[in-house]
Symmetry: C2
Subunit: 395 residues, 2 copies
C-alpha cells in the first residue's frame, strides 16, 4: 500500500519553488530581462577550467573500466586522502583519510551525520534562520528538530534562548555558517562561546553532544570577515561540506563529511556512515566526479561577483532605507520586510515590480526576505529602481 | 550519542568482501596471474565509446553553469523522457516521463520504491538466492523481509513455498531477473504465474501488492533465453534499473525507477520518490551523467565476453561433473558445492588452489557457490585445471 506519510508530502509545495515557478512563467511572458529573479541559490559563475580539463583528460586517457568502476563505500582512497591533506594545509588540522567520508553533497553529509549520532527520542537543535531541508534530514533519522529563534540584530547565535532549550535529550547541534539565508558568518567569539557551552553541557549530561557544521559556503567569504574553521574549536564536530557552491557544481552532487580527529569516535562515525548508505540505497558519489574534484580542492570558481553584488545591493538598499545586517559571505542577504507579512511583501514585489524575493517564513524567520544575488551585476543594477519603488510602496 | 544499531553493523564484514580481500592480498604475494578471482561482479568491458565521446562533447561545448546546474529532484526532464521513449520502443510500453524517476543506480531505485509502498509492520517477500543488500533496503523502510527458499533444480520461483508465505501483511514482492547469483532468467511462464497469483491475492486482501523488479542485468541475456519484460505482465509493477552492468558504469551510480503506467498510483509514486530523497539526503544522480546516459539508452557495452565465458565454464565444469543450472544471462553461475558446507568448500578452493569463489550462504542458498565470470576468457581458460583439481579433491 502507498505510504501515506510521503504521499501527504507531495501536496505541499515549497514556497521558494512557487516564487521560482512564477518567475519562470512571467519571464516567458514579458522576457527574462524584465524579471529580477533573486529566488534561487544556484551558482552563476563557471566551474574552474582545471576541473573541466581534468575531466576530459580522465575520459581520454584513463582505462574506462577502472575510471567508471565501483568506488569503495567510504569513497575513493585517493580522494579521501586529498581532502584530508587539503583541510590540514588550509586550516592547520590533522585529518587522515580515515576521518573523511565522501557524500552526495552537503545533504548527504548531514543526513549521514545525523543518523550516526541521533535516533528515535533524541533532539537536534538548530538556529533560525535556517535551511528548511533540515526538517526532513532530522525527522529522517527519527529525531526531533528544535529551532532557536534568531537574534535579528546580528544573526549570530541567540545564546539566551539556546541555553533555555538545551536538555539531556539533545544529541546534536546543527549550525550553518556562512549562513543561508542571512549571509552572516559566525565569529570566533560566537564559536568559542558555543564550544564552551557544549563542553559544559556534555559534562553535565554525561554524554557527547555533536556539533554538525553545514559549510557549503565556507569558501565564499568577503573581505574583512572573521571566518573561523569551526571544527578547530570543538572536538566532537562533524564538518559537512559540499562543492556545489565553491566550485559551481550543484548538479554533480559531491561533498564530504569530515569528523574532527580529536573526536573519540571519529573513525567509527566514518565506518558507520558506510553502513548507513546501505539503508538509504545511496552508495558514494560518482567515481569520475570524486577523481576530478581531487584536483581542485584548494581553488574555487571566480566568486568575486558575489562580493561585488553584495556591496552594490547592501549600499544601495541601505541608503534607500532598508534595514540589513551586512553579509560576511555566501550569495544571500536577508533584509527586514517593510510590513509584518513577508509573504504579502514578496508577492507584491513579484506581481507589481517583477522583483522575485523569498519570504523569511520559509527559514523560520518572519519579517525578513531573502535576496539570492548569485546573478549578473547587470541584473542587480537594473533591479535597483524596483527596490526603490518597493520601498516607497510600503513606507 | 553514537547510534548503536549502525555501530554494531560496522563489526560485521561481508563474506564476499572477505574473499575479495584475500584474493587481493594473495595477488600481491604470488602475482595477479596466479589468482583466479571470481569473487566480484564488476563489469570487465569498457563503456561504449559513444558515452565517452558525448561526455567530452558536453564538457567542451556546453555552458558549464547549465551543465553542472541542479537537476530537478525527479531527474532531468530530457533524461526522463528519453528513458520512457527507449522503454516504449524496446518493450512496446507506454511510459511517459511522469512515470520515470532517476536514481542512484538500482540500490537507490529499490530503496525509494520500497519506501513508497511499505513501512513499519509490513512484509516484503523475495526469493532465494538473492542479493544480500535487500536486507538493509527492506529494513531501512521499516518492513520485514521474508525469503522464499530456492527451487534449486531450476532457480525459477518456488511457487508452493511462495503461496504458503503470502499473507495480508505483504505489500511488495521483490524479484531479481536475470538473477544474481544464479544467472537464471525468469521465464514467461514464471512471470505469468506470478502475476496471476498476485492479482488473485490483491483481490483477496483488498489492497495493492507491488511487484518491484530489480533488473540491472536485463540487457545481459544469452542466445535462446526467454527473457520477458516483467512490467508488461502486471499493472502494479515498479521496474528498478541500473546502467552499472549494461554500460559498465558501476561507479557512476546511475539508474532509474519506472512505474508501469497501468498502475493507478504510478505518477504519485514518482512524486513521492522525490520527497523520499529529502529524508535520505540524496537528491538525484549527477547532472552530467544523466545527460550522457541519454545518448546510449539503446546500446550496451560489448558484453559478448560474458556469454563466451559462460559457455566455456558451463561446458567444462559440467563435463568435469559439477552440477549447474545453465545461466540464461548476467555474468554469474551458481553450481552446487561438492560438500554441504559452502564456506569450507570455498576457503579450500581459495587456499589450496587460488580459486576465489563465493559461498551460496551469502545469498541464503547454502550448498552452492557463485562464480562471477566478468573476467577475461584467458583467465577462465587458465583456471580450468584448478576447477578440475577442486572436483577431484572432494569427489
Amino acid at each position: 500500500m502507498i505510504n501515506e506519510f510521503y504521499k501527504d508530502m507531495t501536496g505541499k509545495g515549497s514556497v521558494i519553488r512557487e516564487f521560482f515557478t512564477y518567475a519562470m512563467a512571467k519571464a516567458k511572458e514579458i522576457g527574462a530581462d524584465n524579471i529580477y529573479n533573486y529566488s534561487i541559490g544556484n551558482p552563476s559563475v563557471p566551474v574552474p577550467q582545471e576541473f573541466t580539463d581534468y575531466m576530459i583528460e580522465l575520459l581520454q586517457k584513463e582505462d574506462p573500466v577502472k575510471l567508471h568502476g565501483y568506488s569503495p563505500s567510504l569513497g575513493l582512497d585517493s580522494t579521501r586522502q586529498a581532502v584530508a591533506d587539503s583541510l590540514n594545509r588550509r586550516f592547520d588540522m590533522n585529518y587522515t583519510k580515515e576521518e573523511i567520508f565522501m557524500t552526495s553533497a552537503a545533504a548527504g553529509a548531514i543526513a549521514h551525520a545525523l543518523r550516526c549520532v541521533a535516533g528515535e527520542g533524541d533532539e537536534v537543535i538548530t538556529f533560525a534562520p535556517y535551511f528548511p531541508e533540515y526538517v526532513p534530514y532530522v525527522t529522517g533519522c527519527g529525531a526531533k528538530l528544535t529551532v532557536i529563534p534568531a537574534d535579528i540584530t546580528s544573526f549570530q547565535i541567540n545564546f539566551d534562548e539556546f541555553e533555555k532549550a538545551l536538555n539531556p535529550k539533545v544529541q546534536a547541534v546543527l549550525i550553518n555558517t556562512p549562513n543561508n539565508p542571512s549571509g552572516i558568518v559566525y565569529s570566533t567569539e560566537t564559536i568559542e562561546k558555543l564550544a564552551a557551552l557544549l563542553e559544559e553541557k556534555q559534562k553535565e549530561y554525561g554524554h557527547d553532544i555533536y556539533l554538525i557544521t553545514d559549510e557549503p559556503y565556507r569558501e565564499i567569504v568577503f573581505a574583512g570577515t572573521d571566518a573561523p574553521f569551526v571544527s578547530k574549536f570543538y572536538a566532537n564536530s562533524i564538518c559537512c561540506y559540499s562543492f556545489s557552491k565553491s566550485l559551481s557544481l550543484p548538479g554533480e552532487r559531491i561533498g564530504y563529511l569530515a569528523v574532527n580527529p580529536a573526536c573519540r569516535d571519529a573513525q567509527l562515525i566514518v565506518k558507520m556512515s558506510g553502513q548507513i548508505s546501505r539503508f538509504t540505497g545511496h552508495n558514494c558519489p560518482p567515481s569520475i566526479i570524486q577523481l576530478a574534484v581531487e584536483k581542485v580542492l584548494d581553488i574555487t570558481s571566480d566568486i568575486s561577483v558575489y562580493e561585488k553584488n553584495m556591496n552594490l545591493l547592501y549600499d544601495s538598499l541601505s541608503s534607500m532605507g532598508y534595514e540589513i545586517v551586512k553579509p560576511g559571505g555566501t550569495f544571500y542577504m536577508f533584509p527586514r520586510t517593510l510590513i509584518p507579512d513577508a509573504n504579502e511583501f514578496c508577492w507584491t514585489a513579484a506581481k507589481e515590480l517583477n522583483l522575485i524575493l523569498v519570504p523569511g517564513d520559509s527559514f523560520l524567520c518572519p519579517g525578513h526576505f531573502r535576496i539570492s544575488y548569485c546573478v549578473t551585476t547587470d541584473m542587480v543594477e537594473r533591479s535597483l529602481p524596483a527596490f526603490e519603488k518597493l520601498y516607497k510602496r510600503f513606507k
